[in-house]
């Protein structure tokens, strides 16, 4: 997929809001429409809600978006904390071996039922929808920086075809936990510098932004997205990223855009999963 966007016109897709949060814990309370949902939220949910809330404020949009807004989100690998795993494991072992009988009578009952909600990949999208009343379409993917580009591509198309007026495009990754550390410790080369991060862009057409008096903050002037099929058991692709912090998973590019203070941001990505992408953003 190659896209070279012509100079800014009414049909151009522009960024009107930016929001990000790096490192946890972060407090989503100011953005919670439904306070009782707080107990269901894991770190990735907190990051997604806070980044979206900041971006909507930055875009001067209401926090009640309705049917004409959609969510296009890339979520990192499934997180699980060591303490939660230890609790389950302690109740599932007999003589240093796993015992299903013990798990079903002891470990199972120690399992916090809310854990199910806190690690699911689709839950950050749920919390964005519930707290900002987004009823439009969605695209929820995982697990890396390449998938952020795919979410971005889907958002562009949804805006270009008029399927949505507002696209919330995000990347969120809770990575400082047992399960994600385990994953990145076994790949070649291992990745040790991992951050928890969430970042969000608000996209809309230039015409839509002008009609509502929004400030255009950035414009994607060029992007490429390619893929190299490979056997993941036989081939290790060494990941490489310039223009962004590669330890942030799918949040790397949107965090870089949030932090950028230069007139142009160029981003290049060779992801371990065979995705190759690049983009050039003009900051306005």
């Amino acid at each position: 997929m190659d896209r070279r966007t012509p100079p800014l016109t009414d049909d151009s897709i522009v960024v009107t809001g930016l929001g990000h949060i790096v490192d946890s814990p972060c407090d989503p309370t100011p953005y919670l429409k439904v306070r009782k949902n707080r107990k269901f939220m894991g770190v990735q949910d907190d990051l997604a809600v806070v980044a979206t809330g900041i971006a909507l404020e930055n875009a001067a949009l209401p926090q009640d978006l309705g049917e004409q807004a959609g969510v296009f989100l890339a979520v990192g690998y499934i997180p699980f904390e060591r303490s939660d795993i230890d609790q389950l494991l302690d109740g599932s072992i007999v003589n240093k071996e796993f015992s299903m009988l013990r798990m079903s009578t002891v470990g199972y009952h120690s399992l916090n039922p809310l854990l199910t909600f806190r690690c699911l990949s689709n839950m950050p999208a749920f919390h964005i929808s519930a707290n900002f009343n987004v009823q439009g379409p969605y695209f929820v993917t995982y697990p890396g920086a390449g998938q952020f580009y795919i979410a971005l591509d889907q958002a562009y198309h949804a805006l270009s075809t008029g399927t949505v007026d507002i696209a919330i495009v995000g990347g969120v990754a809770h990575q400082r936990n047992f399960l994600v550390h385990h994953h990145f410790g076994r790949v070649e080369p291992p990745v040790h510098a991992l951050s928890d991060a969430g970042a969000c862009l608000i996209l809309e057409s230039a015409a839509h932004a002008r009609r509502r008096g929004a400030t255009v903050r950035a414009h994607l002037s060029q992007y490429d997205l390619h893929y190299e099929p490979h056997d993941p058991f036989e081939t290790s692709i060494v990941p490489h990223e310039t223009g962004a912090d590669s330890g942030m998973g799918p949040a790397s590019l949107p965090v870089a855009l949030n932090r950028n203070r230069q007139p142009v941001l160029s981003h290049d990505l060779v992801a371990a999963d065979g995705i190759r992408a690049s983009s050039v953003w003009e900051l306005l």
Binding site: I93, S129, V140, H182
Partner: protein, 401 residues
């Protein structure tokens, strides 16, 4: 100019069939695939039943859902490779971890396996490996799309692929879903939130969508894959067109984390968007393959949403629930159920909703209870509604050359 999108290949591995022919025969016979869990000893877990896939090829990899998906993709591609560059759109389940491997990590002499393959499959296999294995095997050179919208993921994968092909962004796509959560953590996790049926003494009767005595879903496993390409190009290359995907819509409930909007707002929006996208009227819908989970809340709310969509016609349009036979395949559900719907369109026969013996007063539509029905139909709406309020629907049409 949007292109019409044909389905020219299908592959399925599910509890009642490891090929489309076997699946169709068992669907129309009303065969239940639910039984006692044999993949592990559930011991004293509240739920000890599931709809398992009993297929020899499932054990070649430690991750069953990857084995299912690879096989379903091979079946779908058997119909012949379309012209141009292809891509993959796959709904895929969670990478749950292995409890025995977790125990092993606690031992003082534990060391990670040496080879890349053994390391990547130890404790948990990253689910996204599946898309790369399929892409590599079939030379799919366009960036793969991985969908993690839970129970809606299979339909989202089909719907997104439909749009990509219709808009000319991809020449053709393999699309579908795969999942297997029948393991200690998967079954335990669903039990812990009270989502699954505990009718352990009568497994084949446990999944009973729309029945007054339904008590939760039955976990299933499997994969479904469909080959999508432009209709005109399919005819040009002499491919057999089994159906057309004509429209797709999805929506958020923006409501409860584990309960649908009480009026079925999101479900209605997804269905209405799919119908609008297909360029048809609701009067043209003559069958619905329901999400129909057999949970108390879903089935009555889905009924409400269908009534809102179809109006008075709702009582005359057959609604069937494939999950009554195969259980809930989670991320694979939408893809396998789309195949069920296409097989019904082809055979002019709607598969039954089995175990529907006592209709819930809140579920008062025609759910094709107990036995398959001869019925010539042309347009089926297929629904998938996910945990977390993510809803997806697609419109499937019979194609007459």
């Amino acid at each position: 100019m949007r292109r019409r999108v044909a389905v020219t290949g299908m592959g399925v591995v599910c509890p009642i069939g490891h090929s489309t022919e076997q699946f169709k025969a068992n669907l129309l016979a009303g065969q239940s695939g639910v039984g006692p869990i044999t993949l592990f000893d559930p011991a004293e877990l509240p739920t000890r039943i599931a709809a398992e896939v009993h297929w020899d090829g499932a054990n070649r990899l430690r991750d069953r859902k990857i084995a299912f998906a690879l096989e379903a993709a091979r079946q779908a591609m058997d119909s012949g490779r379309p012209h141009g560059e292809g891509g993959l759109s796959l709904g895929i389940g969670l990478e749950l971890f292995s409890m025995p491997d977790l125990c092993a990590m606690r031992r003082p002499d534990f060391a990670m396996p040496a080879g890349l393959r053994d390391r990547l499959t130890f404790l948990q296999t990253p689910s996204d490996l599946c898309v790369h294995m399929i892409s590599n095997e079939h030379g799919l050179r366009r960036p793969p799309l991985t969908h993690v919208s839970a129970c809606a993921a299979g339909t989202d994968a089909l719907g997104t692929a439909f749009r990509m092909v219709a808009d000319g962004r991809y020449d053709w796509m393999l699309a579908g879903g795969t999942d297997s959560m029948i393991n200690p953590l998967g079954v335990g996790g669903f039990c812990r939130i009270g989502a699954t049926s505990v009718v352990n003494d009568q497994p084949e009767r446990a999944s009973r969508p729309f029945d007054a005595n339904r008590s939760g879903f039955v976990l299933g496993e499997g994969a479904g894959m469909l080959l999508l390409e432009p209709l005109d190009r399919a005819f040009d290359r002499g491919a057999t067109v089994v159906a057309e995907i004509a429209g797709y819509g999805n929506s958020f409930d923006a409501w409860g984390i584990s309960e649908p909007h009480p009026e079925g707002r999101g479900a209605y929006q997804a269905m209405a968007r799919a119908v609008k996208d297909a360029g048809i009227t609701v009067d043209e819908i003559d069958c619905i393959n329901a999400h129909g989970t057999s949970t108390p809340k879903n089935d009555s709310v889905e009924t409400l949403a269908i009534k809102r969509l179809l109006g008075d016609r709702a009582y005359r349009v057959p609604v069937c629930a494939t999950k009554s036979m195969i259980g809930h395949l989670i991320s694979a559900a939408g893809a396998v159920e789309a195949i069920a719907a296409i097989l019904s369109l082809q055979s002019h026969c709607i598969h039954p909703t089995i175990n529907l013996e006592n209709l819930d007063p809140l579920c008062d539509l025609d759910y094709v209870p107990l036995r398959a029905r001869r019925y010539v139909h042309h347009v089926t709406l297929s629904n998938s509604f996910g945990f977390g309020g993510q809803n997806a629907s697609i419109v499937l049409k019979a194609v007459h050359a």
